[in-house]
Symmetry: C2
Subunit: 360 residues, 2 copies
């Protein structure tokens, strides 16, 4: 059931990853260019279904870390995630048999593919967020007992830092964020090394194929109704509920790069001028409030789409005047347990709201 | 020529280290307590003359890193530098045969002694600053070709970070400072691992015995003239010139903890009210200006001493109204070469002054 990912997949994949990135995850266009170049130079990437991964395999996820506002302006060369992977392999004294995304969303759906193309390692079709989240401890891997440590952080100058905070993934995030800030606001990482058995137990399965499906549905739906087509495509997946939360025009965006994150809020007004939407974000969209009522909140997905093409709009490209359709998408059950909500539910972001499924 | 350092040495050593710390290096009283406890629990520490170190020995210096203003309030447990040492040994795949100070001054004359007492490792009587400096690249080790990387940073919770910036010691400092800030402003480190041959080639020799001699001279001189006694003791060493720069009363202190450092300035007025002294510091005293004229500048030592007892006063304990004698002390030739001045001369601190030996 393994398959080869080629250049032809990248447009749909980037679009789908941007939807699942729920506003964050880094610019998908940059990631797409990096993968395209790597595939042109080194050939296609083998994608492994999680069921195919041997229980005793050593899977080392790779990713980019940083504020999307910075990533947008500071392009990687493409070799940095390999440098992080090699540093972690050296520290562990063992070679990875596969890499994997830590999140599905934006550039971090792409970085492991760059590593896969350049090193020949297969990429597991799964991840630890089932969307994008801003912080490294916000992983189902960690929720279900896989430590993020030791992790490696690589800078563009070849600087390497290995961080070990034992089982404390929040502390790991805190130190790694400090290193990333010192590296200029963006870095590449390898972390949450785990066995194939742990992949099957803790990862959200098949989110690369999910992103492909989402990107394809939007493209194919453009001749008629892309949102309806997206809803239909999602109905067959673990993300089975889509709700249109709002249609209108962006009326205000406040964005700042703070402590290594892009934080802020956006507002929109309905086309008839009668309704208001407010969104708060920390790299990713966290909560959508319509006319004073919470309509969708983390970990469910809040996706801002162009109202004509349904092209996803990331938080760093939100602009006054954009005409948007905002949709909420339900997350898989593994992301809604009490342990999961303790790590990446509303309270983990300091939000006062209770989690309530978007379909409820 | 190796000898045993015992509890009886600590009072003189702490005082001498505070003088050579030239206002910084961390609080010597805290360091003295840590060594005392370690010696009481584990026995005395073997001090090795640098000439005794085998050329193929693996010497790994250990130290504390952070702003003295924080160190003063956040006491280490004593095991942190060992944790850093062990992490670096593991990374290198080799065991240290000795440890060594990276600077002679304040707490960092003491930390390697804590490690020596607790682990049984001998401590080499030498260091890489010949005084205290605020930044990790300011080492004769680095000036003469020994890289600081890889280095290990340990936090109080057992968190460990290993940083490798190749031969770029300034970049290592930058990242390690970021990690230290995230660890609360103080951390413990192991870095500049080197051979015994490199110790002999790049270190300032016999600075532990120098600190002991300085501390003893001040104590013994208290019945008559401690400054004169100090000058006499120094005349037989590589630090052979002492000049009294100023006598007066501290009239103003401005101090802030900024970007992980204690920065600021102090002013004093002579007892007759006719003359003014200004000192700028970054953890350590950098320049002393009397009546508008530079009288002493890095890397030469500027030491603020109590005018009665000649007890050294660190930058974080400077207070309005203290009666002080400020002395300048010349540094060894190895610290005044053009390579050395490029790394820790006035320009390295952004000061506009040319280096001029205090004895000139």
């Amino acid at each position: 059931m393994s398959w080869l990912l080629t250049e032809e997949h990248l447009e749909d994949l980037a679009r789908g990853a941007a939807v699942l990135g729920t506003g964050g995850g880094g610019d998908p266009y940059v990631g797409r260019l990096l993968v395209r170049q790597a595939i042109r130079e080194h050939g296609p990437v083998t994608i492994l279904d999680p069921d195919e991964v041997e229980d005793d395999a050593l899977v080392i996820p790779t990713a980019q870390m940083g504020a999307p506002t910075v990533v947008f302006e500071k392009l990687p060369s493409g070799s940095e995630p390999e440098t992080a992977l090699a540093a972690l392999e050296k520290h562990l004294g063992a070679k990875a048999t596969a890499t994997m995304p830590i999140e599905c969303g934006g550039i971090n759906s792409m970085i492991p593919l760059v590593v896969g193309a350049r090193t020949g390692l297969p990429v597991v079709d799964a991840d630890g967020m089932g969307r994008a989240f801003p912080e490294l401890q916000m992983e189902t891997f960690g929720v279900y007992g896989v430590p993020g440590s030791p992790m490696a952080v690589a800078g563009e100058g070849g600087e390497v830092t290995v961080i070990d905070t034992g089982s404390d993934n929040r502390r790991m995030e805190w130190i790694a964020r400090g290193v990333t800030i010192r590296l200029g606001g963006v870095a590449h990482i390898a972390e949450y090394s785990m066995s194939g058995a742990d992949v099957k137990r803790t990862a959200i399965p098949r989110t690369l194929t999910l992103a492909l499906k989402v990107g394809r549905a939007i493209r194919e739906g453009r001749s008629s109704d892309p949102i309806a087509r997206l809803e239909e495509a999602l109905s067959e997946t673990l993300y089975s509920n889509l709700r249109v939360l709002f249609r209108g025009k962006i009326s205000d965006v406040e964005r700042r790069t703070e402590a290594g994150f892009a934080r802020g809020r956006a507002a929109a007004v309905s086309f008839d001028g009668e309704h208001e939407l407010g969104i708060e974000f920390q790299n990713e969209n966290l909560v959508a409030v319509v006319d004073g009522e919470v309509r969708c909140v983390v970990p469910d997905l809040i996706c801002v789409l162009d109202s004509e093409s349904a092209e996803p709009i990331t938080t760093e490209t939100l602009r006054y005047g954009q005409r948007v359709t905002v949709v909420g998408i339900s997350t898989p059950d593994i992301m809604r347990t009490s342990e999961a909500l303790a790590t990446f539910g509303p309270a983990a972001f300091g939000l006062p709201h209770e989690f309530r499924p978007v379909e409820a």
